[in-house]
């Protein structure tokens, strides 16, 4: 009680210093690193300079980035959605089943997948808001649940055209051309997945930083009690965040399904860690020190550049995780070690 006051005021009254080197590093360090690597690869690898390389890099990044945007929204409300990878994986299976086993159109598959994503988000929201289970634990349970559940109707098999069904007949449908076009098609030179990535990034950024809903979500993530006492209906916004995350993971799964062209049951397995990593990396971009959409997109792109560059330089595949780990580590150093701002959003996440 009595000794609380000075502790607060000393932090509060700390003189605000002008931009010094440390602040510059925190603000622009991440972008500088991205530009540096880009320039390095651009100068040393001739193939890296092709615009097709750029687009294929962005296309390949889009799946992780879109799932990462969903994770970002849940981090904004102070949570973390661990079920995104499994949701994307389930989306692949749902899309394959709709088209191959039930011989439906691609558009039906898209709707089915988006609805499934929203339902998973709603289920997470139920566990977290109504059952009061901590976010990490609830979404972890959901992750296992849907990873297993998606295998039951397909009896653990990948779904592709020509699949022999339980009654001995051959599955009647196949991945429609239209559906496969999600991955192959492009708007001018820009592949559709990159278009979707760009649109969702801008939409998420707008939602989080320019609307009142985003404002309320940030408040909930920072101080839920203060948000509640100011009239925010905390439960509803948390639920909304997990629904958004579920739908985004489903969109990532759609692109993935279109890319592989079959209901690969292992699809999306590695997506969770990548998506969480880019969202975490995103918190450090521009010294924001809070989850934000542009940061997540930029984090995903940096990792994409590094993976493409190192692959082109003939680094073996197992270097990929080392690269991701280093990027995440550097981002965390920016956020936690160098930044003067208190890192409040992800600090409580025991990863």
């Amino acid at each position: 009680m009595s000794n609380k006051e000075p502790a607060v005021s000393s932090e509060v009254l700390a003189p605000r210093q002008s931009l010094d080197l440390r602040d510059l590093v925190v603000r622009y360090g991440f972008i500088a690193v991205t530009v540096l690597f880009f320039t390095f690869f651009y100068l040393t690898i001739p193939a890296f300079r092709l615009s097709t390389t750029m687009f294929s890099m962005l296309k390949f990044t889009s799946v992780v980035a879109i799932a990462g945007l969903g994770v970002t929204v849940t981090m904004v409300v102070g949570g973390l959605d661990l079920s995104v990878g499994a949701t994307s994986g389930m989306a692949v299976t749902v899309a394959a089943m709709t088209m191959v086993i039930y011989a439906q159109q691609g558009s039906v598959a898209i709707i089915a997948v988006l609805v499934a994503g929203a339902l998973i988000g709603a289920f997470n929201a139920l566990l977290i808001v109504v059952f009061k289970i901590p976010d990490l634990l609830a979404t972890l349970a959901t992750m296992f649940l849907i990873q297993g559940l998606k295998l039951i109707p397909v009896q653990g098999q990948s779904v592709s055209s020509g699949l022999i069904l339980r009654d001995g007949s051959v599955a009647p449908g196949k991945f429609t051309t239209g559906f496969l076009h999600i991955n192959r098609g492009s708007l001018g030179p820009v592949p559709y997945p990159v278009v979707i990535f760009a649109v969702l990034t801008i939409a998420t950024w707008f939602f989080l930083s320019r609307t009142k809903w985003g404002r309320i979500m940030y408040a909930i993530g920072s101080n839920p009690e203060a948000a509640r006492l100011a009239g925010a209906r905390v439960g509803r916004y948390k639920a909304l965040a997990y629904m958004i995350s579920g739908v985004f993971a489903a969109v990532a799964g759609l692109i993935l399904a279109s890319r592989i062209g079959q209901g690969d049951i292992s699809a999306g397995n590695s997506l969770l860690l990548d998506a969480v990593a880019v969202a975490l990396v995103g918190t450090s971009v521009l010294g924001a020190n809070k989850p934000n959409a542009l940061g997540t997109a930029l984090g995903a792109i940096l990792i994409g550049i590094l993976l493409t560059g190192t692959t082109m330089m003939n680094f073996p595949y197992y270097w990929q995780d080392v690269v991701k780990g280093l990027v995440l580590l550097i981002a965390l150093v920016f956020s936690f070690t160098l930044s003067r701002k208190k890192h409040r959003h992800v600090a409580a996440v025991p990863l």
């Binding site: 009680m1 009595s2 000794n3 006051e5 000075p6 502790a7 607060v8 005021s9 000393s10 509060v12 605000r16 320019r210 609307t211 009142k212 809903w213 404002r215 309320i216 940030y218 408040a219 920072s222 101080n223 009690e225 203060a226 948000a227 509640r228 006492l229 100011a230 009239g231 925010a232 209906r233 701002k341 208190k342 409040r344």
Partner: protein, 501 residues
């Protein structure tokens, strides 16, 4: 009686804030010495110095006439000083059995192996329990402490302290989590210890308890001992010393407002589990002040009216219609607003500017189709800065960078500017300098004069007498007094506070 611990000129500062300003106190064996003091009087700091938590104190502590330096809790303990702190949850470890909790100190000191079997633990746990004659069954000792009643957890912590056979036992608000029956059990134990010659330092806000258990009463204010009373206590004097002189109120400029219209009616509201239900009507056009010591139910009253928590029992009507907010959002929709007592935990979003903080409860006003209008926000932020004389460079300043008084102006101002139907201000003057407090009082009274029903909770009678027209007295959740200031006196209010029915 023999003096066990003697303090000479104890001082303690945090930064430039001097919390203890020279405490001279002798604690005698076989006596219960109670300490009374308002928030920030220095009680907690005094306890922490004695129990070795704050090592950088000034002055001397003598034990049996020999000067000692209390650098660590272990040093204090080795000199026979043991403390049971206020929060039971800080002392017990859920997930461990009751027996293991009895032996927790041995476990952390590695005197008992973590993998020790229950067979070795049980007899030693029973030894600790025997200090207080706690004859608990084996299956109780084996069960997780989580399931143990709070009072028993408190007794366990006490036993753990007593096992060192302390010469001085410090009890900090030991009954705050206990029911009345449970508290009586604790008192019996305290009386027995006293008769065995233990010196006891008893800190509490509950006057009735102090009256029942203490042999001597020390009143602390602003880091100084103001008075020292033998039993039976002169409560009027003790409270007078605790709460300070009546401050000069601008009687000449303020005219007492008497409200006319009933706005918020509470029926059969029960604030605390063991308090009596009461009815209360808040009227528009006056400021109702609720005076009570810490834990007397003021916060429960504020939070219940605002929908932040539920009353134990009771109903409300607002302007004649039934009013039962399930969430603060419901209350806000009915123009019932509250400023919570803990400014930092309850209102401040770190890094947010003044403008963001001001507009947060009313984002509709500063957005079009839910898209934020930055200019409108800054305009609104500036209007609160201007209207409430907030000392700040601009509405972009982070709220956290302001002084306590200016922070409070921002978080009070964001509601007052709306001319609320009911405005609940819980401890609005805590950590607020005199100038800012004056400004807030003036604004609060203006809003009431313009037709709001305003209710202010405070543990400081001076504040209540400065801001309120009508004063309510709460003690242990019971409504003891309800009168206009012109109809009552400071002495009457203090008398009602200590009245035991």
């Amino acid at each position: 009686m023999a003096t066990v611990v003697e303090m000479r000129g104890i001082t303690m500062s945090f930064g430039t804030n001097e919390v203890l300003k020279g405490i001279d106190l002798e604690l005698e064996a076989g006596k219960v010495t109670a300490v009374l003091g308002a928030n920030g009087a220095g009680k907690s700091t005094l306890i922490k110095v004695l129990s070795g938590v704050h090592s950088s104190y000034g002055g001397t502590v003598l034990i049996d006439g020999t000067a000692v330096q209390l650098d660590y809790p272990t040093t204090a303990r080795s000199h026979g000083i043991d403390a049971v702190h206020q929060k039971i949850a800080d002392g017990v470890v859920p997930g461990l059995s009751v027996a293991e909790n009895f032996l927790f100190e041995d476990i952390v000191n590695n005197d008992i192996s973590r993998v020790a079997s229950m067979r070795t633990i049980m007899p030693r746990a029973r030894q600790v329990a025997a200090v207080l004659d706690l004859d608990w069954a084996d299956d109780v000792l084996r069960s997780d402490i989580y399931g143990l009643p709070i009072a028993d957890q408190q007794l366990l912590l006490l036993a753990r302290a007593l096992v060192h056979e302390p010469r001085l036992l410090i009890l900090d608000e030991p009954t705050s989590a206990l029911s009345e029956t449970e508290a009586h059990r604790l008192f019996e134990v305290i009386r027995r210890l006293r008769d065995d010659g233990v010196a006891i330092l008893y800190v509490s806000h509950r006057l009735r308890e102090i009256d029942a258990i203490a042999d001597r009463l020390i009143v602390l204010r602003d880091g100084v001992i103001r008075s020292d009373h033998p039993h039976p206590f002169d409560w009027a004097e003790a409270l007078h010393q605790m709460l300070g002189e009546a401050e000069a109120v601008d009687e000449d400029v303020r005219e007492e407002l008497h409200g006319t219209d009933d706005v918020l009616c509470l029926t059969g509201v029960k604030l605390l589990p063991e308090s009596e239900p009461f009815d209360l009507t808040l009227r528009s056009g006056e400021v109702t002040g609720v005076f009570g010591l810490l834990g007397s139910g003021g916060s429960e009253l504020a939070r219940g009216m605002f929908g932040a928590d539920r009353f134990e029992e009771g109903e409300m009507t607002l302007l004649g219609a039934s009013f039962s907010p399930r969430e603060p959002a419901d209350a806000i929709a009915s123009e019932v607003y509250m400023v919570p007592e803990d400014r930092v935990a309850g209102t401040i979003i770190k890094d947010w500017s003044i403008a963001h903080t001001v507009t947060f409860p009313f984002l509709k006003e500063v957005s079009r189709f839910s898209v934020m209008d930055g200019r409108a926000e800054q305009r609104l932020g500036r209007s609160v800065i201007d209207e409430f004389d907030v000392v700040a460079q601009s509405s972009h300043d982070p709220v956290i960078s302001l002084s306590g008084g200016n922070q409070q102006k921002v978080v009070v101002g964001r509601w007052l500017r709306k001319q609320p139907t009911v405005m609940i201000l819980n401890e609005p003057f805590q950590g607020v300098d005199v100038g800012a407090r004056r400004d807030l009082v003036v604004k609060t009274r203006e809003v009431a004069a313009a037709g709001s029903a305003v209710i202010v909770m405070s543990t400081d009678l001076g504040e209540i007498m400065q801001v309120a027209d009508r004063v309510l007295v709460l003690a242990d959740g019971n409504l003891q007094h309800d009168a206009y200031l012109s109809e009552t006196t400071r002495e009457e209010i203090l008398k009602r506070l200590t009245e035991v029915e």
